[in-house]
Structure formats: C-alpha cells, structure tokens
Amino acid sequence: MKKHILIVDDELAIRTLLTQFLTGQGYRVTATSTPAEARKAVLRDPPHLVISDLQLEDSDGLDMIARMKSDLPDVPMMLLTGVLFDARVIEEILSHKVSCYLPKTTSLSEIGVEVQRLIGPP
C-alpha cells in the first residue's frame, strides 16, 4: 500500500499544489486545513509523514505537531512555512521540535527529496 502523507495548511492553493505533486510522486495524500481536521485524519488513517504549515487558523503548526507526537511518536513531522527563520533558530529550536523545516520558497523537487529522505519511496 502506498505511504500516506498528511498535509495541514490553511491555504487551499498550497494544499492543492502539494497534493498534486505528492500524488504524482506516488504517495497517498490527505490534505486538511485545520488541526482539528488533521486530528480526525490521523485517527482515521495514521500517516507516515505529516507536513504542516506554521500559522494555522485556530492554532499553530508547532503546537499541533507537539500534540500529534503523542499519537504518532515515530512519524516524522515536516514544517513547511512561509515564515523564514534564522539559521540559529532552526538549529537550536526547530530541529528539536520537527524532523525537517523547509521554507515555502523551497522548490517542489527539493520538497520531494526531503520527503523521500524522511519516509523513503512511495
């Protein structure tokens, strides 16, 4: 069965493009816009990888990831956000909270490479 990726982003265009790309790469993708929807999706179909935005409507990505880790301790979490962090912040703070941080300016092919690095091929 194809590996499952859960996307959490409040922007429809981002969700659509990312879903299109990852589906094209052979992964099974569930896209949600809020942490509540993401939680339901996790219970329904546990993912192999979670890709989350930072700034969400009713929470933030890091908070959601922290709570999700209790249910999915071994699942890698990727933070994909438009907020550009300082290299030291990434090194000292984000690296302890997420498996991977990527700014949204990262190309899709590079995102694909990171996804493969984290969970392998589809």
Binding site: A13, I14, L17, L18, F21, S107, L108
Partner: protein, 274 residues
C-alpha cells in the same frame, strides 16, 4: 473381234479378268503363259513390296516426326513449366523479401513510435512538473509578499519605506488613515513633504532632513526623534520619528521611517484606548 495378245495381257493385268485368263489358258495352257503370269505376278509383288516399303518408310518418318514433335513439345512444355516455376519461385522469394522488409520496417516504425511516445510522455510529465513547480514558486512568492505586507500593515505606527534619496517608495495603511493622503500622492515624493524632524530648541538652522540623510549615508539608526507630520488639511501632528537603514548584502539601499503619533489635536493619545 479378235483380241490381240498384247491387249489380252494388258487386260489380264489391269482388270484381273478371269475370262481372259481362261481364254489364254484354254488353247495352250502353256508354260509360256504361266511364266508370263509368274513374271507379272512377281513384278506386281515387287511393285507392291516397293510401295509397302515406301509406305513403311513414310510411316516411320511420320511417326518419327510425330515423336520428335511430341518430345519437342514435351521439352518445350517442361522448359515453360520450369520457367514458370522459376518465375513463381522468384516472385514468392521477392514477395517474402518484400514482406520481410515490410515487417522490419513496421517493427522499426513501431519501435520509433513507441520511443517517440515514451519521449512525448516524458516531455509531458516534465512539462507538468515544470508547470506545477512554477505554480508553486508563484504561490510561494505571492504568499511571501502577502505575508510581509500583512506584517507591515499590522503596524499601527506610520511606516514609510524610503529610497536612499529619502523619497517615499511605499507606505502602510496607517499613513493613509492618519494623513488622509493616498499612496499615489505620496509615493515618489520626499519624506520631508509630509514628515519633518522638529526643530531642536534654540536651533534656527534649516537642515531638518540632514540627520536622516546622514543616517542613511552612514548606515546608522535614528531613533525616537521629535517630529511632525502634516495631514491633507495641513495640520501638523506631533510625534516621534525613527529611521532605520535598509541593508541588502551590507549595502544601505534605503530606509524605513516609523512615525509614532504622540497625540492628535483634540484627540487622546493613541496609546490610550479609545
């Protein structure tokens, strides 16, 4: 009428006339006549034999001719048959060769079509990927610009983005709200046309913009300076002005001026909740 001997003989010979023979044999029945008859018979036999031989020879020749003709016909037929067989075999060979060539051409064509189809499919996939990549880049850029704009717009103080010549290149909504001037009226105008540093007490010098110019030239911050800003009606609103150089790769390319309104005439201090 008496029949002459010669005539009688001829009659006997010609007509095989029995009566004549008897008349001849009757009186003498002689040996001479018999001899004559024997000679005539022998001659007759010889002539018949000659005729038969001639006939046999001709028959033989005819049969031989027929044989030769038949054999020649058979030979020609065989030759024709062989020729036809050769032509048919050659035609079959040619057809097989043509079929082989056609089959090879078809296989090559099919291989080329398969290869071309694969190329087109790959190009199509690449194109789709490129389009997706471009859409993603546009989306990321748009998101980034919007996010930066949201940050600037969220600042309640008046923000002016300046060129190094201290001309306004961008403002936040707070500027429009306070001054009543639209961006079109302010962009590309000197900051001094709307905001000025207040004269220090006792200073009569005119160069109010100089500290800001120097700050941008030398690349240092100018913080919390008393200043005034003029609205569309010409009212002077007092406040505090800070100027921060904009650096790009260690080069000052402009500045950001932040004007904090202290109090509007007749309006409480902006820090006080309304």
């Amino acid at each position: 009428m008496a029949i002459g001997r010669a005539d009688l003989d001829r009659e006997i010979l010609d007509r095989n006339n029995t009566a004549a023979v008897r008349s001849l044999l009757g009186p003498d029945g002689g040996t001479a006549v018999m001899g004559e008859v024997r000679r005539a018979t022998d001659k007759l036999n010889e002539e018949e034999t000659a005729l038969l031989e001639t006939r046999d020879r001709e028959s033989f020749r005819q049969a031989r001719t027929i044989r030769w003709t038949v054999w020649a016909g058979v030979a020609i037929d065989l030759l024709l048959l062989a020729g036809c067989a050769w032509v048919i075999a050659d035609d079959i060979r040619a057809r097989r060769a043509a079929a082989q060539v056609l089959e090879t051409a078809n296989a090559q064509l099919e291989a080329k079509v398969t290869e071309r189809t694969a190329d087109l499919a790959a190009a199509n996939r690449q194109l789709s990927t490129d389009l997706l990549e471009r859409d993603w880049a546009n989306q990321a850029l748009e998101h980034q610009v919007r996010y930066n704009q949201v940050i600037i717009n969220a600042v309640a103080d008046l923000a002016f983005v300046l060129t190094k010549a201290l001309n306004i290149s961008r403002i936040n909504p707070a500027v429009i709200q306070l001054t009543g001037r639209e961006a079109l009226e302010l962009v590309n105008q000197p900051l001094a046309s709307v905001a000025q540093l207040a004269d220090p007490p006792g200073d009569t010098g005119p160069a109010l913009a100089d500290p800001m110019a120097r700050a941008l030239t030398d690349g240092y911050d100018l913080r919390d300076q008393p200043a005034v800003i003029a609205d569309k009606l010409g009212r002077k609103i007092p406040g505090r002005l800070s100027l921060f150089p904009l650096r790009d790769q260690n080069k000052v390319i402009g500045g950001v001026a932040i004007f904090h309104v202290v109090a509007l005439p007749g309006i409480p201090d902006r820090k006080t909740p309304l």
